[in-house]
Symmetry: C2
Subunit: 475 residues, 2 copies
């Protein structure tokens, strides 16, 4: 089958990855630009991915005893100033409401860039005794950070996310909660998004404004750059002290509580696109794909074809699969290209001869391989195929990632490494100056500490290395 | 069992309904006041109701071919001025962002009070040909309307809702979509929330700013006042003309499209509370209750009781029920009161003698009746009981509503009617002056047209009646 339209319209993924990304997100109708600079409209095909992400994450949160709630969008500006680092980090990028109901407000209100301050205020009111701890809440909401350079899903002024916030009676328990949620994110990223991630602690420079420690989840994109796909923060007593979150402990004394917070956002959709996409467009992992399998009729006008497709669709849907039947006027070749661009994991072709032979042709999006399967056990076959696609996508991404991790012991080594599209592991003395020098000279940043690894010298200053850092250019 | 604590803490529902409402929403932890005046925090117990509402509505929307999407929060102020009535209705109550990222914005941005303008802008870009129509999108999001007098769930500056927006090639189809969604709301309100509703057209004075026609769904609260629980708007070409939503029709000519929009909000939680609540607190309909049944152990320290409760809980949960097991240190009587206040539809009491006899005691929240059921078919019994509670709640609310609808043919009749806690049906000449006079003299407003009914004279001016209107005081 000769290639038609579509594929040609997407920039070459190897030649111009940024343009490929823009082409793919717009042409597959995942997203559109909003009227205000830096905003995005998440279109139904993109939002359906987000709904599947929400569903999968939400059940994991609930299994951890987390309850959903909703806190106000607008936060008095004065709340931010209560935590010194926090205000420094977020005040410069907030959007501020100064007029409401036709009147100038006495105090300007920030649109939440994150909600530690307002949730801390409520925790202070709700937490009385150790009996109520731990308290674990999460909200699915929109947040706003006024960014100068924006790209759909990756960095926009407004985005959707979830932010979990927990309160504990001891530091150990709060730290454990921080790490547990990081683990939940990692398991979810790997098993649902087929994205292998490296988790680890962030440097002081890269941590969340107001945290004692931030742990990040880093994923390698097609071009070797890193995307921070989620973070979990141990906040110690920083916010509890600022917002007076205290409790009566079992020993009869009042104590300051310990808190954590953690979040992932619609950025994850960008991660999926840039981890798995290829020259034909999107490749979506079955667990979160809006359409898991598309049925394309061959010689649809022949008697019985449409009926057979519809009956197969009904059978697959009854088994809980998300199925499309493309009965449009376009040619099969055009349909193949379109659904490949849209990244649908499995395509089923069904024509008169297949039906007669009691077979269907299934094409996998990940490997582009085709195979014949009996129509009889269609549900089992398709489910097994989707499982295989899901697993293979993770393995493929893992191989790509693992073959792009290099070691360096000099600035040049780091530069060569990241220019070659790699994550670079290198020793670090621990000082901020060396970290900043790397950023200046290589445009790479410290992504996370490489846990358990050691090096002799700092790649920058040659002093004794205290930690091994994973450096990468990042989105 | 003597009454303990709790119940006494709620104001008397008959003596002081507003205070009862405030007591109940705060003490059952549905909601809390936010730090900014007029805002609310939806706490886990309240948010869980919203999640169940979302789940039920969302599947109904999807069955109608509606797809979810997400549009930006911030709308340029200039968008509002494109539709003359719309700007007049909404501009006075918007919250406005004037500063972002540390700089004064060239154009102030409104936080969406509703999204016709920004979605219309996107529709204009997306709709090209009749082939793409109808286009049906919905978003679950927060909106903001700066209100002077606020009450949790009923009227707050920020609230959560869904807003559906559709585009059609003909007026008939858009009108049909408007009515279809009104029907979906009504079916949902009755079958899921157990709230009988009256649907009908709104008067010109009461319609949505920018609509050709607004249809409302009105529910009678415990005190006989009405609560507008949802609206569906036929927008004609008002927004299509303002935002240039045009399409190439099958006849080769360009035409202006027709649109509709429809929404319900977290107000529905207020409707549930005020329709079903009683002197003991909340009474929640099983379909949306966060906890459908609570197990209270009797003589919990006796051997086997806790185990039997836990095993019953597991069995009920496996069948898909939402179950709590209250194994706290409080007395059974205290627990009964607390869970009654929280409105849990069914309470199961399980003690050593019940276990020995293979029985459980079930208490219904709606009628307070108790009955014994075999432990063996617990799932079936509890499910049947929940169904019965759900049905009975609707019937009870319907009886209350129907016995509080009266007819009037004079201003005094209308006043007496609404002061007696009734909906009042009365003839109307159709002029704005009479409608406003009723509001001035009785504090009642025209809720909806009573379809198919006729009257001789307008209750105000005595002229020939054109319509029968349902008047009520409203939240």
């Amino acid at each position: 089958m000769a290639k038609e339209t579509f594929v040609e319209q997407i920039a070459d993924i190897e030649q111009d990855f940024p343009q490929w990304y823009t082409d793919v997100v717009l042409k597959t109708k995942l997203v559109d630009y909003g009227p205000v600079k830096g905003t995005m409209v998440i279109r139904p095909y993109g939002y359906a991915i987000w709904e599947n992400i929400q569903k999968e994450l939400d059940k994991r949160f609930k299994a951890q005893g987390v309850e959903n709630a909703y806190f106000p969008l607008l936060i008095p500006m004065s709340f931010f100033t209560k935590e010194a680092e926090h205000v420094e980090g977020f005040a410069p990028e907030v959007a501020v409401v100064t007029v409401a109901g036709g009147e100038k407000l006495a105090e300007p209100l920030a649109i939440r860039p994150t909600s530690e301050t307002i949730i801390g205020t409520m925790f202070s009111k709700w937490v009385q005794s150790y009996r109520e701890l731990p308290m674990k809440v999460n909200q699915w909401c929109n947040v706003m950070r006024w960014e100068k350079t924006t790209r759909p899903f990756l960095r926009t002024s407004e985005f959707l996310w979830q932010e979990g916030h927990t309160v504990h009676s001891t530091a150990e328990e709060a730290e454990e909660a921080t790490m547990t949620m990081l683990g939940v994110y990692k398991e979810f990223a790997e098993n649902c998004l087929a994205i292998p991630v490296i988790t680890g602690k962030k440097t002081e420079k890269e941590k969340f404004a107001g945290a004692v420690a931030t742990y990040g989840m880093e994923a390698m994109m097609h071009d070797g750059k890193s995307l921070q796909a989620g973070t979990s923060h141990y906040l110690g007593t920083n916010f509890s002290e600022a917002f007076d979150i205290r409790f009566l402990d079992s020993d009869g004394t009042h104590k300051t509580a310990f808190t954590s917070s953690w979040g992932v956002s619609t950025r994850l959709i960008g991660a999926i696109i840039m981890t798995h996409g290829d020259e034909r467009g999107l490749v979506l992992p079955p667990v979160v794909a809006p359409v898991q399998c598309v049925i394309v009729p061959i010689a649809a006008r022949k008697g019985g074809v449409v009926e057979a497709c519809e009956s197969l669709k009904a059978e697959l849907e009854k088994a809980g699969l998300r199925v499309a039947f493309d009965n449009s006027d376009n040619s099969p070749g055009w349909k193949f290209n379109e659904w490949e661009m849209k990244g649908v994991p499995v395509r089923i072709e069904l024509g008169p001869r297949d039906i007669e032979a009691g077979k269907m042709l299934c094409a996998r999006r990940d490997t582009l391989e085709k195979g014949e399967y009996p129509l009889e056990n269609a549900v089992e076959s398709v489910k097994a195929l989707l499982d295989e696609v899901q697993k293979n996508m993770l393995e493929k991404a893992r191989k790509h990632r693992d073959s792009h991790i290099v070691y360096a012991d000099s600035m040049k080594g780091i530069l060569d490494g990241v220019e070659g599209g790699n994550f670079v592991k290198a020793g670090w003395c621990g000082c901020r100056a060396c970290e900043e020098k790397i950023k200046e000279e290589t445009a790479a940043t410290a992504r996370v500490y490489a846990e358990g690894e050691t090096a002799e010298k700092c790649a920058v200053c040659g002093e004794k290395s205290k930690h091994v850092i994973i450096y990468a250019r990042a989105y």
